[in-house]
Structure formats: structure tokens, C-alpha cells
Symmetry: C2
DNA sequence: TGGGACACGTGAGGC
DNA sequence: TGCCTCACGTGTCCC
């Protein structure tokens, strides 16, 4: 992994030390640094243990501290790389990729896959069909449009009532959300609303959650009306044939 | 982005040159390399243009070639990083992540999201319900289990017939696939089969596609039987209420 | 042998 | 100040 002969590096380190670019402390040679440069070397530098642990941080020269910091930094960076790569490996497993698919291609596939899956769930989650027998609120996590707007889809299925649309509009208005498109289907006293909603740049993603909660409370408001009491027994998910 | 003062680097480069660790060619100083180390410097090294393009690859000293290769290498590596990062940015958009979400957290979210979405599509795609009126073959891209087996779900919905199961078993056997679990629901002369299938380590992902094709041909075999002729007029996706 | 992919160590910048 | 993240240039391996 690392070069077998460290002669050049030794030379380099000696130069750096002589010119005060690094500090070799009281130990004569920066063994800790050498170790990383020559991991496969069989020289005796490995035996030097400089104990950079925090317990002995006291009585260290500033130079030692700098060297210790460098070592910490190096190791932290390695852990960071490992963390990222382990996630990439998980994605390889999830996408059925060969374990030697390169990072860029893998990520390209991930992007494509996430798009497909979002598309599928969007199509499958009963949107744009007749209202179901169960009350439902779905806010599908959207996507940022090219101009930075957040576009997403919200679906609401519940008992129809006269003041539903005013209530809905009030919610959207108070959250400063804009309705790009709305589909309404009513059947047998129930309604399904599918809204395409835009949030401008100054919205955080939290707006989506606010909306979800507001719609749920809207739905509970409907349920608490006396009209829904007689229906409650029907509010089950039915397998319809 | 890069250090403002290059005095140490100059020193370093001079040392490297003197010891033959790098080559400075006929120009006295490795300006091209310096440029990357001191991009914000206002010295005149920027004005040196060494023309490392392939058109003048002829009559270059070996040292020049090495330096040119280093430059190529550097630039290629930069392109590679940009490619990876652009995909990461796309994922940030797709997952509604803040543009300054760090890479590791982003990838963790991507893993989680892909798992959720796969789960959702798996649940939503009509599996484990009664057979539909339309013929369907679905092979959901699976996941590698901890022991390296590829586990995936296949769903088949078609006209029921006596020799369907033997045919199905034949297909699975010929592809060396193992059925971990099978669910069958029949209704009104139609059948829905949901299979959980395992492919051992020596299978490539291609087996999934082979299976998909085999199941489709199985389905066409059913349709070509005279029994299905009278049904064909019914083979439409119905919106059932 | 040249190009692509990767891990590495390091400097810079943000809290 | 110390810790964390990133981009960078480089050495190495592989095709």
C-alpha cells in the first residue's frame, strides 16, 4: 500500500526538520509520521511509541502537540473515509451492484434508482383514483425544481363536507404554499384531493411536515363532526374485488 | 483556497529538484506544479506556459513527459471528484437535504430512503392481495442477505390452470433458484402467486432478468391456450370501486 | 504504457 | 482552541 523503500522520505523528513518545517522533538526523528509513510517497512521506527494519548498531553512542547494533532487529524480523516465508503457499500448491496462498481457509476445508479422508486410510489399510492373508504393523508417528499422551488404532491382522502375546501385553502395560505394543480374526485359522499404544491426558496423542508400535520388535524376535525359517527364502522381498509 | 505565501514550498521544490526527486526541465523551476500549489499567489509563475498538450508530446524529455503525466493525472483526478460530487448534489436535491449536509450523513439518508422506498413499492405493488383482472409479472429487485445470497420477490398473476405450478417449478429449477416462501391466492379462475426467492452466491444479478423473461413467456403460454380467448375482452385494468 | 480508480495525508475553513 | 469536513495532489494498482 505504501512504498517499500523510504529512503527518499527519510531524506525529505531530514530536510524538513533541518529547516524547521516540522518538529522532530526530543526523539531525533518523527517516527510516528514515518510509520504512516512506510507502513510496510521493517525498520525499527515502529517500536518507537510516543504516547500521544490525551493522558500525557501535559508537558508536551508546542511542536509535539502539533505533531500529535497531525496524527489525530490523519486518523480522523481515515475514519471519515471509512464511514463514507461503508455507506457506499450498503448502496452497492441495495442496488445489486457488483462490489467493484466504481463510485461515480454507483452514485449515478443510485440517483436513477431513487428517481424511479419515487415515481413508482407516487403512481402506486392511490393518487388520481377514486376516494377510498379510509381516511388518508399522504405528503410525498418532493423534489427541488431547477429554479430552487420545492415541488411536492399531497393527497387527502376523507368525508366530503362543504367547508373542506375553504379549510384547506386556509391551511395552504397560512403556510405560504402555492397550489400549482388540484384534482378532486368525489364519490358516495367521500372526496379525494390531490394537490401539486410549490414552496418558494425561503421555505425549509420543515414546511412539508407542517403541512402534513395540518392536514391530519383537518382530517380529525372532520371525524369529530357528528356526521362521521355513523360512518366510523365503515372506516376500514377493504380488499375490494 | 491555497496558501498565500509559497516561500516554504519554493524551498521545498528547490530541495526536491536538487536531489533529483522532481525534474525542473530546462525551465529552471517547475512553474506548472507551483501554479497548483500557489493559485492565489501573484508571482509571475503563472505566465510560464509549458504547452503540455498532446500535439507537442513529440521531442519532450522523459522528465517533461513525467511532469506532463503528473498534470494529466491531477486534472483527471479533479474531474473524477467533480463527477462524484455532482451526483451527491443530485441526491441532496432528491432527498430534500440542505446543500451543506455532509457526505456521510447524506449517504446514510440515501441508504435509509432507498430501503424505505423499496419497502413501500413492495407493499404497494399489489402483492399479497387477491388476483387482479390483468395478467402481471413483477420481479422486484431484491437485496443481498448477510450471507451473500440474493433474496427477491416475484409476483405472477394470471389465469389459473392445472399445469401452472409444475411449469413454474420447472422454471425455478432450471435457473437453480430456491423458493423460500410461496403465497397463492385463487379467485374466480385466476391466481396470484407471490414467491420469495433466493439465489446463491454463484448467481449473477442476471438471474433475476432470466426469471422475469421466463415468467413472461409462461404467461404468454397461458394466454395462447384456447381458454383465455373468451377472457381477453376482460383483460383490462379496471378501476374497481 | 497510458488512463482510470482508489486511498492517503495535508492545508484550509467553519463551528 | 480543537474538532470536523472538504478539496487537493500524489503514489499505487490494474487494465
Amino acid at each position: 500500500m505504501q512504498p517499500e523503500n523510504c529512503s527518499e522520505n527519510s531524506q525529505l523528513y531530514r530536510f524538513l526538520a533541518e529547516n524547521g518545517m516540522i518538529n522532530v522533538g526530543a526523539y531525533g526523528f518523527p517516527g510516528a509520521a514515518m510509520q504512516t509513510l512506510c507502513t510496510s517497512s521493517s525498520t525499527s521506527y515502529h517500536n518507537n511509541n510516543y504516547h500521544f494519548e490525551s493522558s500525557v498531553i501535559t508537558d508536551m512542547t508546542p511542536q509535539d502537540r502539533a505533531l500529535a494533532a497531525l496524527k489525530n487529524h490523519k486518523e480522523a480523516e481515515k475514519r471519515r473515509r471509512e464511514r463514507i465508503n461503508s455507506h457506499l457499500d450498503k448502496l452497492r448491496g441495495l442496488l445489486l451492484c457488483n462490489s467493484k462498481t466504481d463510485k461515480a457509476s454507483l452514485l449515478a445508479k443510485v440517483v436513477q434508482r431513487v428517481r424511479e422508486l419515487k415515481q413508482q410510489t407516487s403512481e402506486l399510492s392511490g393518487l388520481e383514483t377514486f376516494p377510498s373508504e379510509t381516511d388518508e393523508v399522504t405528503v410525498l417528499s418532493g423534489e427541488y425544481s431547477s429554479d430552487g422551488q420545492l415541488i411536492f404532491k399531497a393527497s387527502l382522502c376523507c368525508e366530503d363536507r362543504l367547508d373542506l375546501m375553504p379549510d384547506l385553502n386556509e391551511i395552504l395560505k397560512s403556510l405560504h404554499l402555492k397550489t400549482l394543480k388540484a384534482e378532486m374526485v368525489t364519490l358516495g359522499g367521500r372526496i379525494r384531493n390531490v394537490l401539486i404544491i410549490a414552496a418558494d426558496k425561503d421555505h425549509s423542508v420543515e414546511s412539508v411536515h407542517f403541512l402534513q400535520n395540518a392536514l391530519k388535524s383537518l382530517l380529525e376535525r372532520s371525524n369529530s363532526s357528528e356526521k362521521s359517527k355513523r360512518r366510523r364502522i365503515l372506516d376500514r381498509k377493504l380488499v375490494i374485488q
